[in-house]
């Protein structure tokens, strides 16, 4: 078993890992920048080492500083949390070279999954459904019609050399395709000096669905079901749920099998998340894999009863999955997470500063993961997440009602937070219906504007 873990992160996830270690009798070493001297992860770790000035690049992202700290403290493992160095394959390699266990998948797998096209090809080979499209460049208008027939309308034509929307056209039927193909090709040629196009299936109202996986170092893989993460603003998730109302038990079981096979093929281990887009018909398509613990891992913990961070630590200690999670967990009830960010709830501008009042809600079915406290400072240097409020109810209705109650009891003063935004979302009919997609926030913010 791992004896001493250095947590190469800050904020709530650092405290989350420290708490898991403490409960397992593993010693903890916090690292911190000068801006985080008074942070709770520093206070609650067994040891703490200052590794640099406030800027992440000079501290939390400074590989030599983190490794030196681990060596000085005699840590035998490093937990990278999420963000920062968590998907940095080089860091994982340096850990390996320094004889420090990196708590995550092997660097080769991280690197492979970090390159989108390689990841896509790997998953395709492993029979994971990927977004249908042309295999590379389309040779002609006729070929385009041919591809569109197999991919099925609507499709989107994209410039191979492209970006920024130029050389891009959405085609809804075979009648309009030839014209749009010519337009897109000409536009691409003019813009990038290359008229080559490729095709993908176009999803008008996609949902973001992701599957949580655990895999040990002995080739055993388990899927812990999905999360619904469609409530996003500019690709930043705001609210996550488990399970998704759209995934049937049968689909969950089937995906579990596909995932099991594919990750075994790849040689994946430790925790990970496979992200999918779901189209209007409920079909899902692989987009990418995150090779780390995620912010929203808690909703899976609430409905499965599995402690994912403890599982990570035990996997990294060489344990077998069958000893950690003896049988496929049942999904019990419904869990929702709100990300409480230090941001203006309407303008979304960051709001660092000193928290003067901080009253955290509690009670039945309410979980708060936070490293903030009254009189604490939210530094300007890092991401704005100050707390995760997670509610678990017997169904989605109860979880939502619990969230509304808990949000009303979550009092933060001194800085702006997204609490009022969440309160409005939870009062929104479309959100409550569960029938939404990744465009929800655009529509919601329009509605809010109209109310004024």
């Amino acid at each position: 078993m791992i004896r001493k873990v250095l947590i190469a992160n800050r904020g709530e996830i650092a405290l989350r890992v420290i708490s898991a270690c403490k409960e397992m009798g593993i010693r903890t070493v916090a690292v911190y920048s000068e801006a985080d001297r008074n942070s709770l992860h520093v206070r609650f770790a067994d040891e703490a080492i200052c590794i640099g000035p406030p800027r992440s690049a000079d501290s939390y992202l400074n590989v030599p500083a983190v490794i030196s700290a681990a060596e000085i403290a005699g840590a035998d493992a490093v937990h990278p949390g999420y963000g920062l160095l968590s998907e940095n394959a080089n860091f994982a390699e340096v850990c390996r070279a320094s004889n420090i266990k990196f708590i995550g998948p092997p660097p080769e797998v991280t690197r492979m999954m970090g390159e989108k096209s390689t990841a896509r090809q790997t998953m395709k080979k492993a029979k994971v459904p990927i977004l249908p499209g042309s295999d590379g460049v389309i040779g002609s208008e006729g070929e385009a019609l041919e591809w569109a027939r197999t991919v099925k309308y609507p499709v989107i034509l994209k410039a191979v050399a492209g970006g920024g929307g130029r050389g891009m056209r959405i085609c809804r039927n075979k009648e309009e395709l030839p014209g749009l193909y010519q337009q897109a090709s000409t536009e691409a040629l003019n813009a990038f000096g290359n008229g080559d196009l490729y095709m993908e299936k176009f999803i008008e109202r996609p949902r973001h669905i992701e599957f949580q996986v655990l895999a040990d170092e002995h080739g055993n893989v388990m899927s812990l079901g999905e999360r619904e993460c469609s409530i996003q603003r500019r690709h930043q998730k705001l609210i996550e749920e488990a399970p998704s109302l759209q995934i049937t038990p049968k689909q969950r079981e089937e995906m579990g099998k596909v995932i099991k096979r594919s990750l075994k093929d790849i040689g994946y281990w430790n925790a990970g998340t496979i992200e999918f887009l779901m189209d209007e018909d409920g079909s899902i398509y692989f987009i990418e894999m995150n090779t780390r613990i995620q912010v929203e891992h808690c909703v899976t913990e609430m409905v499965t009863g599995v402690d994912l961070v403890k599982a990570q630590l035990r996997i990294a200690s060489g344990e077998k999955l069958a000893d950690i999670v003896p049988k496929q967990p049942e999904i019990i009830g419904h869990a929702i997470e709100c990300r409480i960010n230090a941001e203006h709830p309407e303008k979304f501008t960051p709001s660092p500063g000193k928290i003067t009042v901080y009253n955290v809600p509690g009670g039945n079915g309410v979980r708060v993961d936070t490293a903030q406290y009254a009189e604490g400072i939210v530094p300007q240097y890092y991401d704005s997440l100050i707390a995760k409020l997670i509610c678990h109810g017997k169904d989605r209705e109860e979880a939502m009602n619990k969230m509304q109650r808990a949000l009303s009891q979550f009092v933060v003063q001194g800085i702006h937070t997204t609490i009022p935004l969440h309160q409005k979302i939870f009062a929104d009919e479309e959100f409550r219906s569960g029938a939404f997609d990744t465009k929800f926030m655009e529509r919601f913010l329009e509605r809010q504007k109209a109310l004024k």
């Binding site: 916090a30 200052c50 590794i51 060596e71 406290y373």
Partner: protein, 175 residues
């Protein structure tokens, strides 16, 4: 203004009064206070000012100094804490000395090799740029240069000791 501020202000004023102070001014990055008592001297307090208590009062609300994993108060107000003496109250024996701090995390060595003589010792005069020590990080020997000119008055760490970022290594007194 929150209740906490008010409480501290109140304590400050009471303390000033009991100390027989007629006028008081204080400036901090985050706070500036000035006040004058009515009358000549509110009370005769010949005992003088208890600097420790004043320091503690002023330190409240300020991000408390180091305390790595130490059981310092979660929130700043050290006033309520029974145990935590405010770090400001500590007497610095090298007041006014320049402190050379470690620019990286690593292991401190005072000499280029185990048998070699130390780069510098107490009493030595050093110029800016003079190598003072080595901090080893990831098998790399990083020479640390002096960023001041003066006399080494104290070496604050021992050879082989791990140092964190910003940790004081040497005290240098300009002459």
């Amino acid at each position: 203004m929150d209740g906490n501020d008010l409480k501290e202000l109140r304590e400050l004023v009471e303390f000033l009064k009991s100390s027989g102070i007629a006028e008081f001014e204080m400036e901090r990055p985050d706070l500036k206070v000035g006040l004058r008592f009515a009358g000549e001297t509110p009370a005769a307090a010949p005992a003088g000012v208890d600097m420790t208590q004043l320091a503690a009062l002023l330190a409240a609300q300020r991000p408390s100094a180091p305390a790595a994993a130490a059981p310092a108060a979660v929130a700043a107000p050290a006033v309520a804490s029974t145990s935590a003496p405010a770090p400001v109250a500590e007497v610095d024996p090298h007041a006014g000395a320049h402190i050379v701090k470690s620019p990286i995390v690593g292991t401190f060595y005072d000499a280029p090799s185990p048998d070699a003589e130390a780069f510098v010792k107490v009493g030595d005069h050093v110029e800016t740029g003079k190598v003072l020590c080595i901090v080893e990080a990831m098998k790399l020997m990083n020479e640390i240069d002096s960023d001041a000119t003066g006399e080494i008055v104290q070496v604050l760490v021992k050879p082989g000791q791990p140092v964190e970022y910003g940790q004081p290594l040497f005290a240098i007194k300009a002459r």
